[in-house]
């Protein structure tokens, strides 16, 4: 079934008709996000130009029962912006204005299509910056960061998107517009902003975001250290934390990731070493200097084979360029790869990496690791060749790794979200009552189930069904199963 002409006309009444795309070829550009294995061509793609047009478009969806999926830059890696076949995609790409930078109150108000790095660029003249920094920060948008509660390397010390968003203007699934959150951390009543953040576009569409800005630290010290084993690098992380130091970032890369990154950007990494750490401290110069000496000593104690200290901002940028380019760089050493995103308690890093290596060997596939070691957020990259028929095996291994993280006491996702990719793994992490409660929360926001259906929660109950507006499963109709 496709959307009938009346619905399309209704959208054309609230948007410029040229901003309502129905040409299948044009719509194809929106058929997936960064998780390219899942593709669904939407019936229509809407390109609103401002918040009122977003609200008007959602009202049309509400009136006609049309499911909608909001989309920013499409950099998501979990299929969170996967369209619904009989629905519309609402692109926020045109809402890309920085509405206000308020240096006195250290905050900025931006539209959802503004990229993460553009916020910092707008704040920089005032000596301020926006702390959460996903590796894709040059291209990913704040709207997507809000949807996924995205993190990044500096979240260990500074917290995640949810800790830096003060409020959001949100179009609810019935087309009404509300503000969630306030100008401060103080709110009257339950923290709805906190529920909305990380809800992966299933509770509404944000049309403006007020973020907290931080003072650019006085001093930043960065080092790159090589280690003879992943375990020794992991011990360094534990010792740093035990010493009462909260680094701005601690990133770890293994042999394959180092090789790929070095080949791509020549950041000065040592090819062939089993593990490398990027440790960054920031803060007042006196604190930074004192703690940096301690970090160096800890690295040496654990058999560091090379310690490279960034001597200039350029050298620091180079180290980070290698780290942030690592995902894309893996494309140089493998025709295809899946990026997985799971979290384990930091103390189990060495154990879980060992298990992953074993699982890779069993599956006959290579796994590269580049991750946020400080907070246990792994990003195993499962390398494969689609041409060699390895896709299914790689997909299975990737899913098993995510579920291993849960078995280790961690989480299915640290920053990329559950999306379409891992909705069916949610029962591994949560019980029926947990998921049923999340359904109730979702129902309060979206009683008709039209807002990004099929994402996050395993709905329809039996995974494998096509996402869309709820329709009873045939087994449900016979009474054989029950919908919670």
């Amino acid at each position: 079934m496709t959307l009938h002409g009346g619905v399309r006309q209704a959208f054309e009444r609230v948007l410029d008709p040229a901003d309502v795309l129905s040409d299948p070829v044009k719509c194809r550009a929106y058929e997936c996000d960064g998780l390219t294995g899942y593709r669904v061509r939407p019936d229509l793609v809407l390109l609103p130009r401002d918040a009122s047009q977003v609200a008007a478009a959602v009202r049309v969806c509400h009136e006609h029962g049309v499911p909608f999926v909001a989309r920013g830059a499409g950099t998501g890696l979990s299929g969170g912006a996967l369209p619904v076949a009989d629905g519309v995609v609402i692109s926020l790409a045109r809402l890309k204005r920085v509405l206000e930078v308020d240096p006195v109150n250290r905050r900025a108000v931006v539209q959802p299509g503004v990229t993460n790095l553009e916020i910092t660029a707008a704040a920089a003249p005032h000596g301020l910056y926006y702390a959460p920094d996903p590796s894709s920060q040059q291209v990913c948008t704040i709207g997507g960061n809000v949807a996924e509660n995205s993190g990044g390397a500096h979240c260990l010390k500074y917290g995640f998107t949810t800790n830096h968003v003060l409020s959001c203007e949100v179009v609810l699934p019935d087309g009404s517009v509300v503000t969630l959150g306030t100008d401060t951390n103080e709110q009257a009543g339950p923290d709805l902003r906190g529920v909305f953040l990380g809800s992966e576009g299933t509770l509404g569409i944000t049309t403006s975001v007020t973020v907290r800005l931080l003072r650019t630290p006085e001093s930043v010290r960065t080092l790159l250290a090589d280690f003879p084993s992943v375990a020794s690098a992991g011990d360094v992380v534990s010792d740093i934390v035990s010493a009462g130091i909260v680094p701005a970032a601690v990133e770890m890369m293994d042999t394959l990731a180092i090789e790929a990154a070095e080949e791509a950007v020549h950041a000065g990494y040592t090819v062939g070493v089993p593990a490398a750490l990027v440790v960054e401290l920031d803060g007042p110069v006196e604190e930074c200097d004192a703690q940096f000496e301690l970090v160096k000593a800890i690295c040496e104690k654990h058999g560091c084979t090379r310690l490279h200290i960034a001597g200039s901002p350029e050298e620091r940028a180079k180290i980070w360029k290698g780290r942030k380019a690592a995902f894309a760089a893996v494309g140089r050493i493998s025709p295809d790869y899946f990026v997985q995103d799971g979290v384990v308690p930091r103390t189990r890093l060495a154990e879980v990496l060992d298990r992953i290596a074993g699982m890779g060997t069993d599956a006959g596939l290579r796994v590269a690791n580049v991750f946020h070691a400080g907070d246990g957020n792994l990003h195993p990259l499962v390398l494969y060749s689609a041409a060699a028929g390895e896709t299914e095996r790689a997909e299975r291994l990737s899913g098993e790794i995510a579920e291993l993280c849960v078995e280790m006491g961690g989480s299915l996702s640290g920053e990329h979200g559950i999306g379409t990719d891992k909705a069916c793994s949610m029962p591994k992490m949560f019980g029926e009552e947990d998921l049923a409660t999340m359904h109730r929360v979702r129902h309060a926001f979206d009683p008709d189930g039209i807002c990004n259906p099929g994402k996050v929660l395993p709905t329809p109950r039996l995974c494998g069904e096509r996402p869309g507006k709820y329709k009873p499963h045939p087994l449900e109709e016979t009474g054989a199963i029950e919908r919670l």
Binding site: G151, V246, G431, M438
Partner: protein, 369 residues
């Protein structure tokens, strides 16, 4: 008057049974330190007292996380964690009075160090909650970075026991700083605000920046760090402040700060949040007997006569801020809430979904719901 039943569950299963097997309306209580906060409770059929629901469930020192039962007093937890050089980075005034973990989450409490560490919402990484129908739901977990599923802890944060009973809470921990120092400068509010702006513009990284007034005004600036580095930082801070005495020994100005946020038999306490740039003028407009003003956080706590509370709510709202009653003197009639937020229909829908019969905390959000 009917006799109210009090239930004292000691574990999660007992909480669930108590909720499921007790008909009617329920109030949740812990240490009772916020009993007079928010809206006044309507009569209930039973009180669920979680003060026996105590103790650490799991402490992972290497991962700097801890889970504890909701009735655990935070100060008891702090004592236990201190052995490992860790703490919960929350300095709300009523922790000293025995406030429980669950109560601190349910009332969205925080203290001056929320400037850096945030409120309880920023420290809670997992919860187990019992809903009105006996459903036991869990979200989050023991890792600080976690985006799987909806963050139910946030929903419970500030819910004043109206959406569910918090049974277990997982927190992220921070290292206890090696050293802490506070500089005190006598200054009226306007001057303190100027000094605070100067501190915030520079590389001083205060963890708390508060003006306190109970007659005369003082600016308190707290920094924390290492033994090696802190003395030099204190000196730099003193230079930008143009002086200031370092608080030492028994004369802890933060104790007085905490005291001022508690109210008195005659005075109501209003908690205000507004952009830091408008907060000093706003507080000056309100006829406050005493005040603490977070010049970086934008959060103020003011003591005022109950009969002017409604007007104060209006002024805060007009300034784009938010306010809630933090203490109602016995017998006083003071409005708990100001004008409702635009998202009130969502709040009501959530209440209907999670507690369709309106069992939990009736009156707490009156007149909103």
């Amino acid at each position: 008057m009917t006799t109210t039943t009090t239930l004292r569950p000691a574990d999660l299963a007992e909480v669930r049974d108590a909720v499921r097997d007790t008909p009617g309306r329920l109030a949740v209580t812990g240490a009772g330190t916020a009993a007079n906060w928010a809206g006044e409770l309507d009569p209930v059929d039973a009180v669920l007292d979680v003060s026996a629901l105590t103790g650490v469930v799991t402490h992972n020192p290497g991962d700097m996380t801890v889970s504890a039962r909701a009735g655990t007093p935070l100060r008891a937890l702090v004592d236990e964690l201190a052995e490992h050089g860790q703490h919960v980075s929350l300095d709300a005034a009523r922790i000293a009075d025995g406030a429980t973990l669950g109560g601190l989450v349910a009332t969205a409490d925080s203290g001056p160090s929320s400037l850096v560490y945030g409120t309880m919402r920023d420290l809670v990484i997992g919860v187990t909650v019992v809903l009105a129908d006996g459903t036991v739901a869990r979200s989050g977990g023991h890792v600080i970075k976690n985006v799987a599923g909806y963050d139910l802890a946030k929903l419970l944060h500030g819910s004043y026991g109206t959406l569910g009973v918090l049974a277990e809470i997982v927190l992220r921990l921070h290292p206890v700083p090696q050293r802490t120092a506070t500089l005190v400068v006598d200054a009226p509010l306007a001057q303190a605000a100027e000094l605070a702006a100067r501190v915030l513009e520079g590389p001083y990284e205060p963890v708390a920046l508060e003006w306190v007034s109970d007659g005369s005004g003082r600016l308190l600036v707290r920094i924390e760090g290492t033994d090696e580095a802190l003395p030099a930082r204190v000196q730099r801070l003193r230079e930008v402040l143009g002086g200031g005495d370092e608080a030492a020994g028994a004369d802890d100005p933060w104790l007085r700060h905490a005291e001022l946020t508690r109210g008195s038999p005659e005075a109501a306490v209003l908690r205000i949040g507004a952009r830091p740039s408008v907060l000093p003028a706003l507080v000056s407009e309100i006829a406050a007997d005493a005040a603490t003003v977070g010049l970086g956080t934008g959060v103020a706590t003011v003591s005022l006569p109950p009969h002017v509370v409604a007007e104060a709510h209006g002024r805060v709202h007009a300034a784009g801020g938010t306010s809630q009653l933090r203490y109602r003197p016995p017998g006083a009639d003071a409005a708990a809430w100001g004008p409702p937020p635009s998202a009130l229909p969502v709040l009501r829908a959530l209440k209907t979904e999670l507690d369709p019969d309106g069992r939990f905390g009736p009156g707490r959000f009156s007149p909103w719901m």
